[in-house]
Amino acid sequence: MLDFTNLDFDQLFGMKDDTNPLMMLVWILPIILFVFYGQRIQLYVTSGELKKGIKKLDSFRKESRNELIDYLKKNTSLEGDPVKKIDQFIDYFTIMPVDMDPNGIVDKVQHTVRAREDYTREHLKSISPQISDFELSKVQTLLEIASSLQMIYKIINHMFLTAKKQNNYPLILPLQMILPFIMEQAVAMKDAIPAFKLGQPVGDGIGPMVVGKMMLSCKKEIISFQTFLAKTNFEDRTLYLLKAEGPGSTVGRPADALDVITSDSKIDAIIMIDAALKMEGEDSASIARGFGAAIGGIGTERFNIEAIATSKKIPIFSIVVKQSVSEAITLMTKEIADVADDVSAQVYEMIQENTQKGQSVVIIGVGNTSGVPQ
């Protein structure tokens, strides 16, 4: 039996010529272990972290589904049990059009997305025929959140299980890298639920908030689906104010509205007000001005606005309020709400700087108009 109380350390650590064979094993065994099983050990360590993240994603998707069903049961008169239909809606997927030939792809994407929206709206109405448009927009947003969280969970879980099944460490690396970003988005979506349920304004609503205030004393009309127009004057210029129909949770269809306005009247400038994703290190609620169409989403609205502006040679100016992903979709922060008047002042300054008396300007408040009427 080896006597550990009487070890010669000089010999053990190879300081003399006659190296201890035990010392050789101490060096060689880990090398062999890491050469042949290194990836498996790393996979095991990383799996622990990923499992925690996936468990959280699973709880988020369940929470969002239950919140939606609870909201429907408490706030709407239902025809039968909605659970089965809601579970079907949550699992609905959208197959984007083939883009091998990109010609006409925007129209195809727009058609697919709008068809999905129309379908969801009609089927939610079938669950609760008496539902008001205001409640319907809230339920539709809650459904989108639940559906997105379900999709995120499924994709991340699939990637994780595939890597585990194949014992493939390189496959798990990209997952480990993207998970913090995915978690940030998922947490933001989960945190957005109370704001949409209560019909509160979210950070993304800063554009509609500014334009809604400018519209207050004006006559308003619906110009396109879920989109309001108000006409007013400012220093001998005609202003066409556009925003989504509040206080429901919707972004409206500003491109369709712009198309109607530009086909009826000569427009000299377009000013868009929107929330923009801040970069790390940038202050939240800071205001920035620029050129080009400030509008997010899948890209179809932006494409159409740019196409109209290009064909009619109308310059597009933008004012954005910087914020994080979380701030954009959760209850508006005090810092963002406080800059609304400043943004409004900058809009008027922009009109004075970029247009002459007698000209016309379209001002679009872009974003989700939850809690922001006109």
Binding site: L198, Q200, P201, K213, P247, A340, P373
Partner: protein
């Protein structure tokens, strides 16, 4: 492990349409921006909801 729990409280700011006096209170369900709410304590004119926002408290 040492992160503090964050609680968001929603507030509504009302502004008097006549004297411009501001009043901050907790958000109540049904509050939407630009809608008329209570009467102004100072001049009795109606207040309009000017802002709705959340403030985060760390516990």
């Amino acid at each position: 492990m040492f992160s503090k729990k964050k609680i968001t409280t929603a507030y509504t700011v009302e502004k008097c349409t006549k004297c411009g006096m501001l009043k901050k209170r907790k958000f109540t369900e049904g509050d939407v921006l630009f809608s008329e709410s209570s009467k102004c304590n100072s001049c009795g004119e109606s207040n309009m909801i000017e802002k709705i926002f959340g403030e985060i408290l760390e516990q």
